[in-house]
Assembly symmetry: C2
Homo-oligomer: 347 residues x 2
DNA sequence: ACGGTATGAGTTACCGGTAACACTCACGTC
DNA sequence: GACGTGAGTGTTACCGGTAACTCATACCGT
């Protein structure tokens, strides 16, 4: 072994970053006083505070968040477990969560999912717990949040960005939006509206389908068989090819904008003009939607609001002292954005 | 004051989560031995290890990562400072970083930018430093990474996902891709290629423009004035409207796919067919690009590879003992993806 | 039989903060 | 003048791990 120990016999605490005690020594006070200054404790004289701050500045002292976390039991970090953060929805929510967290002086630790399974979500949450986060926000995709939460200690604050009974949750209204979308098409004179659905193991997909169906039945319109598929543009494209062959199809409600994009391409290739011959409506309002050909009429989900609200909910729980109140549920409304992919039915 | 102190006089350490010492007591060993078991220290007999693990399981003991971080000086957390994580590029990189980090048993703490300014990046990096991260990955947008790094302590491992001299960096080749794109169009018989550029204060935008220009001059083709704008589809749309009016425009290279999307819409609205009359080529290959109308020929950037490589670079630095080696630079190649928005020039 | 060494485990100190409590004054009150 | 009070500060212990060092024992070769 070569002697690689460089740790010289310094006058105590020489090498590393300065600590509370170094500042204290320099300022001629106790380390506790320095601690008080950095906690904004009221009972510190202005004079002392100034001395301490001067010493701290001179040493470029920065309080060690980890030591603080150990002593206080709070890491001021919240964990986010998310489904594919590459997608616009999750990415927007995570981004909004982080932004709000930053404003509240919290950090955000993100853990992605190895697979969209219950096990994977539970594992991710567990890792986060081990890391000492003060709370967790779940963006579980189609994994039922309630089941995941069962494996977590009940004292850990959790918010789900998905429907849930046993934990606080923030969700977008999945019923009124589809309703408005279908009504919009019906109002334009379409006798019915077809539905390119999302994967039926997703609650969102089921809710949107229900909204679509309710609007149709409420208007006494026939309810065509929904066309199943996944959330992708590729799936929308495949379904669009089939839909394009059916001349009776004049209006389609897609379960999200990506499906709508695929639809648009298939319709375009089949020579069926949008919106003149077929109206298409999406869901989400991704930033690109306004520049589809034609610009897509769609139902806007405010992902950012969702993220912000979920964080607020979580911080409430973290701040709450006593018994965990009944799980709060926030529902965010949607907004129909009419652009140019919908038009009156040609008579 | 009502007596809210519920802290009952328990047999020592009653309330909170079990610690090393609780496990030790139950297993009849010293706390250090328990620590050894959880560190996978080799010098623990199989028998003792089993006893400890049994006790730990019984107590549902989980080592406290914060205490460990304080003792070891390493939090096994890396920080990511990123430009708008709502965008596909940054989102993909962060996601890939997190995935790789997870495999290496690291956590990722993401901090977004309040504004895309040098100050903001430096502040974010500073916050992360205060939180005790083991290293930082910078996705600084157009903010020069080198300048940000100057304010950071030289011992902190940093990797920039942007061109940089003074720190390790991982970037996509921004020259060959545009070159290939333009060559592709020239090979199709176009006499020249117009360029809907990105914002010129971005290095990427400048490099892509340079690649475009180089390809043109190398082929002896005339170099039209590049059309400036930002990265958005809206900007692409505006420029597309102008380009559509000029019948001499038969091929356009857009600095990214969003611009191309806007271009496509404007061209479509002006009645100029793509690719029959005008070829359009993008950059990035966002997932939607394959379903644009028509599917977009574009230059693929492998954001995920970028993220993975940057993390590998960072872990190398964290693992490296002695002097910081010369900053490594990784360049990831691009790939031209030919779809249907490009076609031979009509003669 | 004896020193040398590897193995397995324990003891004590320490990481850098915070919390609880003790202490010293200055001040106001009766 | 004794005493209660509150502001400002210091002392000591503790959060839950790890590191360094110590120690007892077993095994080895000679």
């Amino acid at each position: 072994m070569t002697n690689e120990r460089v740790r010289t016999a310094e006058p105590a605490r020489g090498g590393g970053r300065p600590g509370l005690r170094d500042v204290a020594e320099l300022a001629g006070v106790s380390h506790q006083t320095v601690s008080r200054v950095f906690k904004d404790h009221p009972r510190v004289s202005a004079e002392t505070r100034a001395k301490v701050l001067a010493a701290a500045a001179q040493l470029d002292f920065r309080p060690n968040a980890i030591a603080r976390a150990l002593a206080t039991g709070s890491s001021r970090t919240i964990g986010v477990v998310s489904f594919d953060t590459t997608l616009f929805g999750p990415a927007s929510m995570v981004s909004a969560i982080e932004g709000s967290a930053r404003d509240a002086d919290y950090f955000v630790s993100v853990v992605g999912l190895a697979s969209p399974s219950r096990r994977s979500v539970a594992e991710a949450a567990d890792r986060l717990r081990g890391q000492g986060v003060d709370g967790i926000i779940l963006i579980p995709g189609h994994v039922p949040a309630d089941q995941v939460v069962r494996h977590l200690p009940p004292v850990l604050p959790v918010v789900a960005l998905a429907p849930a009974q046993t934990v606080a949750s923030a969700v977008v209204d999945q019923h009124d939006g589809p309703l408005a979308a279908v009504r919009h098409l019906l109002d334009l004179g379409h006798t019915t509206v077809h539905h390119a659905a999302g994967p039926t193991d997703w609650p969102e997909a089921r809710d949107r389908m229900r909204g679509w169906r309710d609007a149709l039945t409420a208007a006494g319109a026939p309810v065509p068989e929904p066309v199943p598929g996944d959330w992708s543009a590729a799936s929308g494209y495949e379904r669009g090819k089939a839909l394009a062959l059916d001349p009776s199809v004049t209006a389609v409600f897609a379960a999200n904008d990506h499906i709508a994009l695929g639809l648009l391409l298939a319709l375009h290739e089949a020579g069926r003009r949008v919106p003149e011959e077929v109206s298409v409506i999406g869901f989400d309002d991704i930033p690109e939607a306004a520049f589809f050909s034609p610009p897509l009429t769609t139902v806007r989900q405010d992902f950012a609001a969702l993220g912000r609200r979920s964080l607020a909910l979580l911080l409430d729980q973290i701040g709450a002292v006593g018994a965990p109140a009944a799980p709060a549920g926030v529902v965010i409304p949607t907004e129909l954005v009419v652009r140019r992919s919908t038009a009156p039915r040609r008579t």
